[in-house]
């Protein structure tokens, strides 16, 4: 087997500058955990208050907040490269596209040429 000489030259791509990765302090972890628990309590509590259609939106807003906290701190995205942000964002962006465009069909079906109207 030909011994391929191994280049020590840095690859063209920018390496994530992390050495041993970003070490988040324990205080932050516990604070986030506490926030998540509080938000869970909030979402359950609010569900029993009649806010009309706003119930759904409040529930979703709380869920989005919780997910954001997990992503930013537990998953270290706050300390990650722009590329990581981009990957996460594009996942959610295309999910939003899928839901929005499909709903555009279902919501507007009755607007024109409704059978029987």
């Amino acid at each position: 087997m030909a011994a391929a000489s191994h280049s020590t030259a840095a690859r063209a791509s920018a390496h994530a500058a992390h050495g041993a990765g970003h070490v988040v302090s324990l205080k932050v972890y516990f604070a986030i955990f506490a926030a998540l628990m509080v938000l869970t309590a909030v979402t359950v509590g609010v569900a029993y208050v009649d806010l009309g259609v706003m119930n759904t939106f409040v529930a979703l807003a709380v869920a989005v907040t919780k997910a954001t906290l997990v992503i930013l701190f537990f998953m270290h995205v706050k300390y990650s490269t722009k590329l990581t942000w981009l990957v996460v964002a594009s996942g959610f962006f295309f999910l939003a596209i899928m839901i929005a465009f499909t709903l555009a069909d279902f919501v507007s079906r009755g607007w024109l040429g409704t059978p029987g109207s």
Partner: protein, 330 residues
């Protein structure tokens, strides 16, 4: 000419000519760009063919001006296509108010049709020339698609829903009717014909006196109008028991179609055909404000055709209570 050469299907509806005109435009654009590209590729290939292994080539990076040109011009042309196509499409989605009404139920593997006046057909549709005809389609099983090439119309018949399309025939004759959405074994046998007749012949046919033996209505068809059949069903299933005026069990139905109905859960809904169908088959889904969810389902007790008859009857009940329901008009 093109029709005789076998390059164009018969043009037998008001829409056919418009669609073909658009087709002509699309063909012209396609021909222009195909020839342009072909000329470029073939011309350059000949002119700049390799003459020697030592040929030198220039280093041409590109031209922003050209990029803009061949982005903007195609974009402009496609926008013309979009608006032209959209115009025809929206027209197809809005049947004229004076259209004749035919209900179409697809089922593996036949088309069952019924005219508003009651005459039923299978795999045939008789229509008068020069009158718009509105089709309301649904399916008993899988998705089918009602396709008449000579009219340039096609519409899926989707189970559990109503879809509509319309046409106005311009030439007396017989035309292909195809199922265009794959529906199983005999998909290619789910075909029939559309018979376009003079108005007088059509009236005679409607009355069951057609001279053509082939056009005889199937034996199973009742001869009453849609409304009459619907009324019979209304009585047979005892709808009147709960839905009479002043009833506390169910809302009166006169004037409901087309109005906005307030629901128990605080929402409201426009009482279109879909809503009426759902309320017959799945009464718990949208309960009218002020009434208890006590209506039983009629799922399995009525065919899609019978539901359409019942809806026709409910619509015929008139609009005397429309004001009470806050009629929105259309």
């Amino acid at each position: 000419m093109l029709e005789r050469l076998g390059l164009m299907p018969a043009q037998a509806s008001t829409m056919a000519f418009q669609v073909d005109l658009l087709y002509g435009f699309l063909i012209a654009v396609t021909a222009f760009f195909s020839l342009l590209i072909a000329a470029g590729v073939i011309g350059f290939s000949i002119k700049y063919r390799r003459r020697s292994e030592h040929d030198r080539t220039p280093h041409i990076h590109g031209s922003n001006l050209l990029e803009v040109v061949w982005t903007v011009i195609p974009l402009a042309i496609t926008m013309v296509m979009f608006f032209w196509g959209a115009h025809i499409f929206v027209t197809l989605k809005r049947p004229p108010d004076d259209a004749l009404q035919v209900n179409v139920v697809g089922k593996q593997w036949m088309w069952k049709l019924q005219h508003l006046e009651g005459r039923r057909e299978i795999n045939q549709l008789h229509v008068p020339v020069g009158r718009p005809v509105k089709l309301t389609l649904t399916s008993e099983d899988v998705i089918h698609s009602f396709y008449v090439p000579a009219f340039r119309i096609k519409q899926d018949a989707v189970p559990g829903r109503y879809t509509t399309t319309w046409f106005e025939a311009t030439k007396v004759g017989e035309y292909h009717l195809f199922c265009a959405e794959y529906c199983g074994t005999v998909h290619s046998g789910m075909i029939g014909k559309v018979v376009v007749m003079d108005p007088a012949d059509y009236q005679a046919w409607l009355a069951g006196e057609s001279t053509s033996a082939a056009a005889a209505a199937p034996a199973d068809g009742g001869s009453g109008s849609l409304v009459a059949s619907g009324k019979a069903l209304y009585e047979k299933h005892g709808c009147i028991t709960c839905h009479q005026a002043g009833s506390v069990l169910g809302p009166p139905l006169a004037g409901v179609p087309g109005s906005t109905v307030a629901l128990q859960d605080g929402n409201s809904v426009t009482a279109d055909d879909e809503y009426l169908r759902e309320s017959i088959l799945n009464p718990q889904a949208k309960v009218v404000k002020g009434f208890a969810p006590v209506m039983p389902t009629f799922k399995g007790q009525m065919s899609e055709e019978q539901i359409l008859q019942l809806i026709a009857y409910i619509k015929s009940l008139g609009g005397d209570t429309a004001a009470a329901h806050g009629k929105t008009g259309s």
